[in-house]
């Protein structure tokens, strides 16, 4: 179907994966902030650079083989299921913190910075998706507005 070719493009899929990743990372960060005063709680982390590396690799792979589907694999934290969804496995932060004697290692400032940075990533992905869909609408209408 031509509509699938339009909406299933590599770019849209990459943006979808980015939004999904940002959503899951936001969830992990929310959990870390919620447990900021919990004794013996070790923060969990989803590495954004690892996701970006995996996505870049997947884009190159798809470009070489000419397929429109992106597959993230070979990474510990992120991978895609056969139906194109992103599965993330956050890792427990190994770094011990000598500041707190009750076994915590959360740093609130770092967490909040990560939250904001991650929200920007999500915002970027959804806005690009939206502009992409608006471009499609323009093409369907055959005129601007």
């Amino acid at each position: 179907m031509w509509i699938e070719r339009l909406t299933g493009s590599r770019l849209i899929h990459a943006l979808e994966l980015t939004a999904q990743f940002a959503e899951q990372r936001h969830r992990v960060l929310a959990e870390n902030v919620a447990n900021i005063d919990t004794p013996d709680y070790h923060t969990r982390r989803l590495d954004a650079t690892e996701f970006e590396a995996a996505l870049r690799q997947a884009l190159q792979q798809a470009g070489r083989s000419g397929t429109e589907r992106l597959e993230l694999r070979g990474k510990a934290q992120v991978s895609t299921t056969p139906d194109g969804r992103l599965v993330a496995r956050p890792a427990v932060e190994p770094a011990p913190n000598i500041l707190f004697h009750d076994g915590r290692n959360a740093l609130l400032e770092e967490l909040m910075t990560d939250v904001q940075e991650n929200a920007l990533r999500y915002s970027l992905a959804t806005r690009l998706l939206r502009s992409r869909f608006e471009a499609l609408l323009t093409a369907i209408r055959g005129r601007l507005r």
Partner: protein
């Protein structure tokens, strides 16, 4: 995205419980008798958090326990006080709760900051959800 709000609200509930316990400690910092009238000072209370949603499974945080501080009561010499000890080596002394106001204030500030951090996170979640909904607009 919606269950992220559940995680954050579980933390808001936990921090508010902690703040309530602290408020109870400060309010009873000079209480020398129990509710039923027996002469025994108020014991300082505290909370312990544990990871996990309050209702069964799922991510989040909950109050695992509200405990009573077993440390010694404070003794002050005040023989005219109706609750003063009548006999023993400490006759004439009144037992006051083991509440340290400075410690309670510092704990209250910590709880308030954690509450604020979770509120900030909630507003970020709301913004993200709104952006996702705008995809269909």
């Amino acid at each position: 995205m919606i269950d992220t709000l559940d995680i954050t609200s579980s933390a808001l509930v936990a921090q508010r419980t902690r703040l309530n316990v602290i408020a109870g400690n400060i309010a009873n910092a000079f209480t020398t008798a129990q509710e039923d009238g027996t002469v025994r000072p108020y014991r300082r209370r505290g909370v312990t958090f544990a990871p996990g949603a309050p209702a069964g499974t799922g991510p989040g945080v909950h109050v695992a326990e509200i405990w009573e501080d077993p440390s010694e009561f404070e003794l002050r010499y005040d023989p005219g006080h109706p609750h003063a000890l009548r006999e023993g080596p400490w006759a004439g002394y009144v037992q006051y709760p083991n509440v340290n106001l400075t410690m309670e204030y510092v704990d209250a500030i910590e709880a308030a900051r954690a509450y604020e951090a979770n509120l900030a996170l909630m507003s970020v979640t709301k913004t993200m959800t709104r952006e996702a909904l705008q995809l269909f607009a």
